[in-house]
Amino acid sequence: MNNLIILPILIPLITGVILIFFTKNIPVQRWVSAAGFLLMIVAAGMLVSHVYQDGIQTMHLSNWEAPYGITLVSDMFSALLVLTTSIISFFVVLYSFKSIGEEREKFYYYPVVSFLIVGVNGAFTTGDIFNLFVFFEVMLMSSYVLLVLGGTKIQLRESIKYILVNIISSALFVIAVAYLYSVVGTLNMAHISLRLSEVSDLTIITVIAVLFLIVFGLKGAIFPLYFWLPGSYYAPPAPVMALFGALLTKVGVYSITRTYTLFFYHDTGYTHELLQIMAILTIIAGVIGAVAFTDIKKIVIYNIIVAVGVILFGVSVFTENSLAGSVFYIIHDMNIKAALFLLIGIVISITGTSDLNKIHGLIHRYPGVAWTFFIASAALAGIPPLSGFAGKLLIVRSGFEAEDYIGAAFVLMSSLLVLFSVMKIFIRGFWGAPRAYKNEENAPVKWLLFAPALLTAFAVLYGFGTEAIYPVISMAAETLANPEIYINAVLKE
């Protein structure tokens, strides 16, 4: 029993509710939400250190013992993701002060962001499969509102498609839970894992596994199911795009990782092979998009898809090293995607366009933005010693060790093309002859640069401090690779 687990969920919830009372008072909206998120970072940090010292932390809601009640479980993987989420959301909120516009700020922008974080942190923390669905829905409802907030034509059009896709995937989620429940008769994730290992008929488990892959794949944007993502993520303004790009797909990826390491590790010959093929195809599709487009938003959006593929490849190899690589990479990617989206948000607010053909020579007037972008894109591609390197190295190496040469080669080559796609932005957008833009004077570049610069600094620190962080990461990977640790921690008390 440890009440610390609930705090990263509870703090944004209370913040959001309090903010509803002061909708018209923008300074209160800004500073209360910033204070709330700062508090959440502290709570999440304490949670990580607790998990590091005492192992997996659990909490039974309403004091109902597992497996009867809803249990919140914080292992190292989820605690780290909660911490990363808190940090990113704090900086995105700071960035929003001067970029989201007063219209949106008066129309429940900050409360909805808080509820989004409730959903994301809840999904990372919960140890109950149906509760996961509920937190997914909390997150999705907030994301619908954030997507449509502002009500421009393109937002309305894209959010209709986004909502439709997500309603279908939610229905599939309920169906998948129904099948799972009929087989195991429980909803507690640790208990499900225990019961599944007693089921002799592997085929039904495989069917459920594939169904879950479809459900989470739709949210996490893996290969055939990513079609909705480029359009929907294109519509909202930069801070919302950063939240979506950094957090939402990662919740899907987290859920795949959790279910495929905790539940479906029996028939890896089929399920993990399938996951691997999907992951490789995801990488290919994402890279093609990232290289082909000349729209800076599109390029970064397709890089989300590449990253999803890389992380899931690590999961599908399913050795302790590859899982460590995936954990490394998912944290790196959340951080750096948020930074990149915020940076291109600055570029768009300076130039008023996201078309790369119309942007030149920004480096002359905005060297700070340019060099931050350069470091961030190098980190994204995994140039040593920046943050993407260690994760990719672990994933590729364990891919070769497991004799998945093709997949590992694709991951390697994708890094090169990812580097090309973001350097394209740097070379064409930042270099060249400077030119004047219409809204240039109005862009509060100094304030906006603060958040992505700090996030990029984190990426640099994360890369240089790999040695120091490694014990924490390997602890997360150890839990993922050995489901018994998780099961014992939840059910022993």
């Binding site: 059009r157 309603i167 279908i168 939610s170 129904a178 429940y181 909803l187 729209d295």
Partner: protein, 113 residues
């Protein structure tokens, strides 16, 4: 009974798919409603259809009903109620703003207004 429910769920899914493939936004919304109904019924069926007393300790009944699927469905119904309501409001706003409820005319490149 399970067979009957399976058919019912199948028919609901079928209708939902048909409606969601149509062009009118309102039909699509009705389709999503039917889809979630089907999913809820499926959840109820999968939880086991049996009669029994309420699962309270003092009842001493020969058989108890499983309360979990019902609790799950209630939650899922509330969620789908909220989502459908939101979708309706959005569709109405989109109709006002874009002047159409035809999905064909909502197509277009993302960059275009």
């Amino acid at each position: 009974m399970e067979i009957l429910m399976a058919f019912l769920v199948g028919i609901l899914f079928m209708t939902a798919t048909y409606l969601m493939l149509s062009k009118s936004l309102l039909r699509i919304i009705i389709g999503t409603g039917l889809l979630s109904h089907g999913a809820h019924l499926l959840l109820l069926t999968m939880g086991g259809l049996k009669r029994g007393a309420a699962p309270l300790l003092g009842e001493n009944a020969p058989a108890y009903a499983d309360p979990l699927p019902q609790a799950l469905i209630l939650t899922a119904i509330v969620i789908s109620f909220g989502v459908t309501a939101f979708f309706l409001v959005l569709a109405y706003r989109a109709y006002q703003e874009l002047g159409t409820d035809n999905m064909d005319r909502l197509r277009g490149k993302e960059g275009h207004e």
